[in-house]
């Protein structure tokens, strides 16, 4: 792991980070608030001391308590993957600014995150469903999703669903769902 990167990050974004800089193996992880994402990523992209030119990955995460958007960056100035986590999105109405102005290629990844988690990326001009049909109502990768409700909501309501999740039928949503344990 790259200690120097950690020091540089702390020096540059010290006030923005909502958590300590975590490092494990060849990964460096910082957490920022959803509002700070565009500035942070633009700085990381443009600043000649960072030059994180590659957006390796963008994905949403539902920790069971909050929503997160995870960006993975690569730069030739370091040997680490830099993981930027936009932390603390509300599970009711998750919103985060889009970064399509920085990386146009993030457009579809943001569409996927919206499709799977319902995360709204403000500024993405094509935020549609990408995998699921347009008349689909629920967000499959959320932790409170289970197929019985989904089948009841979907246009195919009344069709008997085959699988069943471990969530009891009479449970209020968000009761028996898995919650991420952060190390």
């Amino acid at each position: 792991m790259d200690r120097a990167l950690r020091r540089r990050l702390e020096a540059r974004f010290g006030d923005r980070l909502t958590g300590p800089v975590r490092q494990r193996h060849d990964e460096t992880e910082i957490r920022v608030g959803p509002g700070d994402v565009p500035d942070t990523l633009r700085t990381l992209h443009d600043d000649p001391s960072f030059r994180f030119e590659f957006l390796s990955d963008l994905c949403g995460v539902d920790t069971g308590l909050v929503m997160q958007v995870v960006y993975h960056l690569w730069s030739e100035t370091t040997t680490d993957w830099l993981r930027v986590i936009a932390d603390g999105l509300s599970r009711d109405d998750p919103r985060v600014p889009s970064i399509t102005s920085l990386w146009k290629g993030a457009e579809w990844m943001e569409r996927e995150a919206y499709d799977m988690f319902g995360i709204t990326f403000e500024g993405n001009r094509d935020l549609r469903r990408i995998y699921m049909p347009p008349d689909y109502t629920s967000f499959p990768l959320r932790k409170d999703f289970f197929l019985a409700d989904d089948a009841a909501r979907s246009p195919g309501a009344g069709v008997r669903h085959q699988e069943q999740t471990h969530t009891p039928r009479n449970a209020p949503p968000g009761r028996a769902i898995r919650v991420a344990k952060e190390a």
């Binding site: 990964e27 590659f54 390796s56 994905c59 995870v70 920085l102 290629g105 001009r125 995998y131």
Partner: protein, 411 residues
Amino acid sequence: MTTSHEGPRLRQQSQDDPRVMLDIDAGAFEPVPPYPPRTEREAEFYTLGDGEMFLNMGPQHPSTHGVLRIVLKLNGEQVVDLDPVLGYLHRGVEKISENSDYHHIVNQLDPLEYVSALFNEWAYVMAGEKLLDLQVPRRAEYIRVLSSELLRISSHCLFMGWFALDLGGLTPVLWSFIERDEIVEMLGALTGARMLFNYFRFGGVNGDLNHEFMSRLGSWMSRAASHVEANTGLLNENEIFVRRSRGLGVVDRETALRMCMTGPNLRATGVPFDVRRAHPYSVYPELDFDIPTRSEGDSLARYLLRVDEIRQSLRIIDQCLHQMPDGPVMAKIPRKITPRPGRAYAAVESPRGQYAIYMMSDGTDQPFRLRIHDPSFLHLQSVGLLMPGNLVADTMAVMASLDPVMGGVDK
């Protein structure tokens, strides 16, 4: 704004009952969504200018690679704009993986990108080994490199064939399938399956090299280079092929970076980004090979770049065979895997680019979140950037030159 059905009314005799006169809305044949536009982009796309028309390609079009649907907005034969529609192959593997055991996920991932399945497994097991702090035996690493480079060659052979087929050449696809079948057969002798290997494990590989694999590999290596050269000899100098693919779907360096393109498509624009060198993993630092790059960034450059990569992979395989160490091929791992809670991100250089897995564990025997990042997804996205201005004839050619696999695009 023709987002709603607007077409001439067709009055026609019903084929089932000649007494019935059907009153058909011709607009129902248009690939226009029956609901009001959801985003400004959609509204803009589904508004026809004068002299423009929609053309619906796929999902049953003979040459869409997999079940892909593209709505083209044409002006004559010229593509003005296009809108890929995904999801026909979506299996929700990320969701399935959250409810299945770590061991089971390996061959959940196989059918994702079925052309080069070993790389999916590799990214997954690398992420898992990071979570478990596992040390993989060097022999296992060498076997991984050997088998996956073989698969890279077969994937590139397949690309050459399909690209030629989309340009109208019938023969190269079958010649390249001969090479691919050789490789797939020997991988079947090694892993036990021809396409969906289920070979890599946390901390090693499923089985050691066996005699049949080695004999097949030896007999193939002796003639592989000459065969590849012969197959490329059909097209590389062919005037029609060169004139069609040169200057087709040009991407420059900055655009490629903004579109998050990776792999050969990025290297064809002059960026020497290869995960094997940019972020070394496994035993690649010990191996001597080059990262071929080209500066044109057009379809011909992508094609020739893959041909060069086949030669480099042959070099790597040769070195692997010479440096293959002895020892075990599996580390000691528990039968029930429960990593400590944490996050891991691992990327490999698949034949299509950077294939990454992002895994979150919450201490149970099932991953809390498994994110699958497939390069084909982003390359297919950039088709929308490359196509406008080209002709319908080149739609599939540009697609093929980017080499997406729909199984990987729709997870």
